[in-house]
Amino acid sequence: MSKILVIAEHDGQTLNPSTAKTVACAADINGATIDVVVFAESAAEVAAQAAKLDSVDRVVTIENPANAKALAAVIAPQAVALAANYSHVFGPSSTFGKDLMPRIAALLGVNQISDIMSVVSSHSFQRPIYAGNVVLTVEAPADHPVVATVRTASYRSVDSNNSASIEAAVCDAVIPTHTRYVELKAGSSDRPDLQTAAKVISGGRALASSENFELIYALADKMGAGVGASRAAVDAGYVPNEMQVGQTGKIIAPDLYVAIGISGAIQHLTGIKDAGTIVAINKDAEAPIFEVADIGLVGDLFSVVPELTNSLE
């Protein structure tokens, strides 16, 4: 039977929604027991949130001042010490999980399965490769721990109606001091978080300047949407890096995605293919974005977007 350890992503106070999605993936494995581990300086607040997640059997807390910030080199040896009791170790395929999980896998001497998009069986999973152009099914050996990241855009968060037990644990791993946190500059935005927003409005190179991106922000604020961008718009310096959607940026699955002035390179499309409804507004009727759009409008964004914004209450 599968015993799955899910590594919680959090900022010290709040459990990241990526954890509830990782649990959802783990719960797709038949008959699995699921433990969530919280590495923190003081874990109570985050552990309480994790304990509410449906399908979770137990929350384990490892408190240590060294765990105040999520550094892969610090967490990995502790996770490895815990992993001995588990058949699977899962983390989200966020920058947190992508940084940490391969380090755990290597210390356990196994390969990692990156970006699980669906569970075939306890040791067989589907994942995207080549920017989502190919879906690969991989089988992991049954006699070794399965270490994996979960493509969060492929899963809906489990509900929070549970009250799993919370247990403090200690772990005697040697924690390195060679990696030290300095600071985090978070993008300052009052808008919904790009990765969890139900609606996302994205702008592309056609916006032509960061000033013109105000058109996108105005529409997003009217709709209560998060804001993203194509790689071209980020490369051109119109918006900060963390707004990039696509193969090398964020993979998202909002209910509504509106692509404005985005041609739709395959690397961008891989970031949005799980969106509920895709709307494309582009003046080029031949733009590849229209191949995947549920609703397409050929037109000049500089007239269409203000008109749309003004038409909404």
């Binding site: 896998a105 067989s124 080549y130 989502g132 006699d143 030290r180 293919k273 191949e291």
Partner: protein, 249 residues
Amino acid sequence: MDKILVGLKRVVDYNVRVRVKSDGSGVETDGVKMSINPFDEIALEEALRIKERGDANEVIVVSIGSSDAQQQLRTGLAMGADRAILVEADVDTDAISRARALLEIVNRENPGLVILGKQAIDDDNSQTGQMLAALWGRPQATFASAVELNGDTARVIREVDVGLETIDIDLPAVITCDLRLNEPRYVKLPDIMKAKKKPLDQIPMAELNIAASPQLTATSYEPPEQRQKGVMVDDVAGLIAALKDKGLL
């Protein structure tokens, strides 16, 4: 520092639309344009800039793969790397074996820094750098968007989901590059000629005595589900009506 080691992976070019073989046994790579993984080019560019600033003496590019990867190593040499190492492997190597092979090269060369791309655009794994750092017992700074060397340490700004995180790491260490760390230089024709004379060592993978690892088995390759083509609307009023129809407004 004396040396910087840079990994270059030979991958299907960024612009190629990859297709699954008709029998589902893999991905069509016959006659397809191959290139250096774009993130690895950024890694090499960073190493070259560090050397040009006088903070390193030698840049070594290493690739693990078939003898065809010599092309990508030659391109790396033309960009400005001093020498190249090809770890020759007949079959596709898995991530942990690649990390172990790199560790063997690290142990031979003792670089002050190993710089890799944050992911390869073929398998999209994003594993090798972290695995090498783990096996080496050294720091990792993944998804780097700025690197500043300060003697025995480096300060790295990392692109994380919420913004930019800064960490300090002791050297030696592994850094993996994000997109906007730098813009790689173009190779000039005279440099291509010069690169032909630079040393390129070939080491059979078997010679590195790498422990066998539990393999992931690829059981099928399939094209992704295609989204259905939707409807076109004529104007903003039509768009709003369509969105209301779907309950999205």
